[in-house]
Structures are given as structure tokens and as C-alpha cells.
Point group: C2
Chain length 239, copies 2
């Protein structure tokens, strides 16, 4: 399953896909409707009964395609990851390696996020649904996010190799900060209806990339409290 | 109600609080148990029945204190905000105005977040529970987050007035980026179990504060795509 958003998943393309049979088309349509539904109500809100009603199908008809609710939920997470790769990563691979490709990825991610701000995001709601609930869905969420972080890291490393970013830029640090800006953009727009959120996210991305172009600017051994004399700290630092 | 985390809420202190009566003490204990429960199961998972069972009370006993499930949920959000202010903001007011106080606030927020990474965070799960569900709980979430952003903005403005941060630093931009780092720290630690998350959050905060000390470094009119030649953009920019 392409949860890992691996290079293998990216190398397959439409021309190599065989025409699906009718059963596969129905299954695919059910997954599409389930993804749209789950984006609003959460993966845990996705039940066979509610989905069957929305699709005008019988519950047994839905079960025939998936076997269990969990299999349906896993298929929905997998579809989300496929769509994300198709929209955000695959077209950006046409941009030149390095900073142009990284920026193209971020631009397409912002475009997708603008839609998810309207419709809800399966991965953001799922992150809090499954963060303390072990099992196959938790593991699938982690694989998708880890896979996406890996793709971002790869684009950043290529930008370093191309000389577009500083050779000592910490790719994991850049990934962490990009992700934080995207999470805040989602919350600040969707919950808080802040009209300034997209501008703040873009300014943050711009500042982050500028910093990653300067050697030693992202050194992670800078102590957080080092910028000014701090008051006595009774609380131990987070490690 | 102190949802807004206003200066008024902060100015009250323990010595001015009257001894609570027994009914108030019971109500307070029920809210405390409900907050701990809701931090794990979400505000929507909080039912009168489940709470009564946990407290060894009858359902009618719980209802007598709150009237409705929604009143209980609102009291839990209010308690969360009070505890957050008591832990993160109130003690930091003893630090000198300006950067020392801002850094003390952030240090105490990191300390609290470390606990919420273990126990769950009502506001982060609540943000996705209520982002598309209008009503009193949605409004309470928004008020708490808006109030907290206002307190951060105030600490940043004071640091500018004290000459610790550049006079042209964009306080809203700094608040947005701080919040993004905290959201990512929560997700990366709690869902992804990343041991590097706290270090990345601290490095990001350090870099952000360093940048806010330099004039014009946080200018928000920098176009995101301006750092390098970009490929053709078929997707409109997010506004």
C-alpha cells in the first residue's frame, strides 16, 4: 500500500493503469464518498451505515467491498495520501530540482490547504483522533505523515545539493517549521476565521527559506533562552 | 466568565477568593475530573453518564450542579483557560516586562505542553471538534484562543517598547509562528513520538526571537515565492 508515499508510489502513472472492472469502480467511488464524508466528520465518524445511506446502497453492499469498517477507514486514509501526492508532489516533480521544486511543492500544498480549510482535513482531525489510540489506523496516520515528511526532506536535501540552500541547513528543522506553519494556517483559518492567516503562513515560509540559504542560520544547538537574560527557571526545560 | 483571559482575570488572585461552600467545592471537583477526562476523550466524548460513573455520583447529582451537558462542557473549557493562565501567564508576570517575560511565558508553555503531550490537550482536540460546528462551545474555544493570542501579543508589544525587540517587528506574525511551533511540537511528540520535536520547537523559537530583534526582518510583504525563480504557477496563490 502506498502509505509511505515512496518513490515507487510516485513512479506509477496513469498510462500504466489498466482499465478497472465494474466492482473496482464501485469500490473506488465508495472510497471517494467516504473520504469526503470523513473529512467533515472525522475518520471515527465514518460508519458503514452512514456511508451506505449517503451512497444509496445497502449496508451489506458496502460491507461486500470492504469486509469491515476498519478496512474502509484504512482505504480512506490511503486514498487521502494518493490524492495528496497526485496534487502536491507529482506535478512539482516537473519543476527543476532544488529550490524551485521545493517552492512548487509548498505552493501546491498551500493551494490544497485552502480547500481543506473549507472542507476539513482528514489528517489534522485524524491526528487528534488517533494520537492515543494504538492500532492499524494510528499506524497508517503515522506512515502517511512520516512519508510526507520524507518527501519534504528529500526536496530540501536536493536544494542543498544544488547549492540553493546552505549545505549545513538542518532539513529536519526546516520540515518541522514548515509543518508548524501549515498546521497553524489550518487552525487559524478554519477555527478562528482569521483573514490574515495565509499571509502569516507565507511570510513564515519566506523567512524560513531565506534563513536556510544562510550558512549556520538554522543551527539547532542555539539554546532557546539564550537571547536575553532569563528569570530564574523553576521548571525543567523540555528535552 | 474569564474566557477572554483578560487583564481582569489576571488581576484577581487567591487572597481575594472567599472560602467556597460545600456545593461549590463539589462542583469544582466535578469540573476538575471532567477536564482530566475530556483531555483524553475530547469535549464531545464528555457525557454526564460517563462522568458520573467516574466520580461515583448519580447522573442526577451531576445534572444538579450543571443543568445540562453543554453547561458542563463550557465549565470545562473555562477551567482549562483558568489553569493555563495560572500556570503559564500569572507567574511570568513576576519576570521583568519585555523579552524576559515573553521568554518566561514560552518556557512555562513548553513545560505545560510536555504534560499535555502525555495527557492530551483539550484545546488542540477541541479545535478540530468544533471548527465546523457553530454554537456556544465553538465560540468558547475561539474566545480562549483569541484571549491567549492577545496575551502573547501584549508581551511582544512590551518587549518592543522596552527596546528588546525591533520596533517594526510584526507582533501578529510572531504570535502566528510561535503558535505553529507549539502545534507541531504537540503533533510530532504525541502522535509521531519524535524525540527531536522539543529541540526543533526550541530552535524555531530561538530563531524567531532572534529575527524579531533585527529591524525589518519580519516584514510580511515579502512574497513567499520571491526567494528563487519559480516555475509557472497554474494554481492561484492563497490570499
Amino acid at each position: 500500500m502506498p502509505f509511505g508515499l515512496s518513490a515507487g508510489a510516485v513512479s506509477s502513472n496513469d498510462s500504466t493503469r489498466a482499465q478497472p472492472r465494474k466492482g473496482e469502480r464501485t469500490r473506488s467511488a465508495v472510497i471517494g464518498a467516504a473520504l469526503e464524508f470523513a473529512s467533515r466528520v472525522g475518520i471515527e465518524g465514518l460508519t458503514i451505515g452512514a456511508l451506505a445511506e449517503r451512497m444509496g446502497m445497502s449496508k451489506s453492499g458496502v460491507i461486500a467491498h470492504f469486509g469491515s469498517r476498519e478496512s474502509l477507514q484504512l482505504a480512506v486514509v490511503e486514498r487521502y495520501a494518493e490524492e495528496f501526492i497526485d496534487e502536491v508532489l507529482r506535478p512539482a516533480l516537473e519543476a527543476p530540482r532544488g529550490l524551485p521544486r521545493l517552492q512548487d511543492i509548498l505552493e501546491r500544498w498551500l493551494t490544497r490547504l485552502a480547500r481543506e480549510i473549507e472542507l476539513g482535513c482528514l489528517m489534522i482531525s485524524g491526528a487528534t483522533e488517533y494520537d492515543d489510540r494504538p492500532g492499524p489506523l494510528h499506524d497508517a496516520m503515522v506512515r502517511v505523515i512520516d512519508g510526507w515528511k520524507g518527501e519534504l526532506r528529500r526536496a530540501i536535501e536536493q536544494a542543498k545539493e544544488a547549492g540553493h540552500l546552505a549545505a549545513d541547513a538542518d532539513a529536519d528543522q526546516v520540515v518541522f517549521e514548515i509543518y508548524g506553519l501549515m498546521l497553524m494556517l489550518h487552525q487559524d483559518s478554519r477555527l478562528m476565521h482569521s483573514p490574515a492567516a495565509a499571509g502569516h503562513a507565507r511570510a513564515g515560509l519566506s523567512r524560513l527559506i531565506d534563513a536556510a540559504r544562510r550558512p549556520a542560520s538554522l543551527a539547532t544547538d542555539t539554546p532557546f533562552a539564550g537571547a536575553a537574560p532569563a528569570t530564574e527557571r523553576r521548571h525543567p526545560a523540555v528535552r
